[in-house]
């Protein structure tokens, strides 16, 4: 009897519901994170039985001697800045358009969201075909339109490869921002818009003074999530260019993978991962605090 009532207490029920997830997260997320930090201070080729303590040597190497690390770092920064600006911006514009009453609105929303549910590696493969210099869609279209001068080796030219890849990334991620903004727009009080119209606000002023402030929370969420997902960009690089040509599309996540899994230097790979982890935490921790505060305030 008393055992049953113990199990029925909210605290016990919460624990029962959380236990499997805690177990899985410990094994597959927390432990690997600790392991990576430890590995970053060691030298290991992934096969030997013992790992050699190396101190800060791996860090010294990637910061001072690794010819690729800073290229990957710079590319990751460019990539992140672009990802924070363009997918949210395009997503917001789409959401504003699709928030109006119009023909086939539901279908259009579904279509724009569709790429989000495609596996990133499939997206990478699709776009690699489309970017193919000889048989790809883009160059075929340009030839057909007589624009031979615009033809590029989209993924083979080191000045354009990163941006070509980014176009594919936008295509896949825009739907995600759009859906969040649509939800945000639904939360904009209609009577506020009407009050602003009665106050004499133009369409732009209504957007600027009513809609945009009401979207502030959504915007923070979209930007933070975009930052996080851009920092971990890996599969699209792996699938489209593998980091080339001449490391021009190399990024931190990809370079950590290459160091560990292809060069078999797990120490350096881990050190790169740890730097990426710290950058990500610098974004995530303030965000989590902020959202926690909002949640507490809403209570």
């Amino acid at each position: 009897m008393s055992r049953i009532s113990h199990l029925q207490s909210p605290r016990a029920q919460a624990l029962i519901l959380l236990a499997p997830a805690i177990g899985i997260y410990t094994i597959f997320a927390i432990w690997p994170m600790i392991e990576v930090v430890i590995l970053s201070f060691q030298r290991w080729n992934g096969l030997d039985a013992d790992r050699v303590w190396a101190g800060l040597e791996n860090y010294r190497y990637i910061f001072a001697d690794d010819p690729v690390y800073w290229i990957a770092f710079k590319n990751t920064v460019i990539w992140t800045v672009l990802s924070v600006i363009f997918p949210p911006l395009v997503g917001l514009l789409l959401a504003l358009g699709l928030n109006e009453k119009m023909f086939a609105r539901g279908a259009m929303r579904a279509i724009y969201y569709l790429p989000v549910i495609i596996a990133p590696i499939a997206v990478a493969t699709m776009w690699r075909w489309m970017y193919d210099p000889f048989f790809g869609l883009f160059n075929q279209i340009m030839t057909g339109m007589g624009l031979q001068g615009w033809i590029q080796d989209w993924l083979g030219d080191r000045d354009v490869a990163l941006y070509s890849m980014f176009i594919a990334y936008i295509w896949q991620h825009v739907g995600f921002s759009m859906v969040l903004f649509l939800a945000g727009l639904q939360g904009v009080d209609r009577s506020l818009v009407e009050a602003a119209r009665i106050d004499g606000a133009s369409r732009w002023q209504v957007f600027r003074y009513v809609t945009l402030p009401a979207l502030q929370v959504t915007m923070t969420i979209v930007i933070v999530l975009s930052t996080i997902s851009s920092l971990k960009a890996f599969d699209i690089v792996y699938g489209m260019t593998g980091g080339g040509p001449a490391q021009s599309t190399q990024m931190l996540a990809m370079w950590a993978f290459t160091q560990s899994m292809q060069i078999f230097d797990f120490g350096r790979g881990s050190a790169i991962s740890v730097t990426l982890l710290l950058i990500t935490l610098a974004v995530v921790v303030p965000y989590l605090r902020w959202s926690q505060k909002r949640e507490d305030a809403a209570r």
Partner: protein, 354 residues
Amino acid sequence: MTDVRLDKICKTYGTVEVLKDIDLSIEDGEFCVFVGPSGCGKSTLLRMIAGLEEITSGDLSIGDRRVNSLSPKERGIAMVFQSYALYPHRTVRGNMEFGLKLSRMDRREIDARIARAAKMLQIEPLLDRRPAQLSGGQRQRVAIGRAIVRDPTVFLFDEPLSNLDAALRVETRREIAALHEKLGTTMIYVTHDQVEAMTLADKIVVLNDGAVQQVGTPLELYDTPANLFVAGFIGSPRMNLFAGEAGPEGIVTASFGTLPRPDGPLPEGNVTIGIRPENLHLTSEGGARARVTLVEHLGNEILVELALADGQKAVAQGPRNHCPTPGDSVGVTIGSEPLHLFDGLGRRIETRSP
């Protein structure tokens, strides 16, 4: 002159006609209340006057201008919303000055207007707060303040009291009446609450099913409802309605016997007799027999719900000194007030005293 004139105003959404041929004229300085049940089109009508809804057909003029295609701002109106619709990220002052700033008004003039309105509404200490820090009543004042500073020619109120609790509702209602007294501006007010309509209005417009049922002063509507709908809608508790048959001897009813013919022409056939609850009296002997089913105490008076012999329900309102208990058998008589008679189509039959 800022009278408001509606000439054959219609509103359709697709094939659904929500407002049909509304003709109405609201005089300068008048307090006009649109009242009706939910979905009768009263809010839509107000929003059409505001310029928030397009007018499908007909003419709307404010003052001597036809304003059909003018923007809300150009119409010179101000509106107070049910939800207050205060900009949440702006202070009270920011809310009040928003429209004035958009119209590039001189800073000193803006400050002067806000000071004046804030004083009138006693919201001066709140000017630097945000809406979230205000109570419902305070928000409503700010919403009214935002309307006042625009110095509109017509005020529009869309159920402004529905989100307030009962005590505050009565208080704010009085303040709105006082405001109208002070400003003398034309006001159009939408509500579903007939008490609000009765207490505030110079002129009430009763709407149902997208059509005007009757226009008149509160007492005109109460004393001479134009049809069964108005009879049932205006007055609380509702008017009792009984079926009867008009013949040469009088009006034959199931419970009250034959009532004398009123003066004036009375078409023969089925009629409906309307008797206000205060015009039904309980007696211990005589009258129509009825069983008491419910007694409600209003304090000074009681409402007695009755089941008449033929099963019909009725409500009588009277003094509390003869308070029956549910289950009692009582007699019911009709008082001396004039009866309301309606023909088979529900239209009022004009009579003089019975």
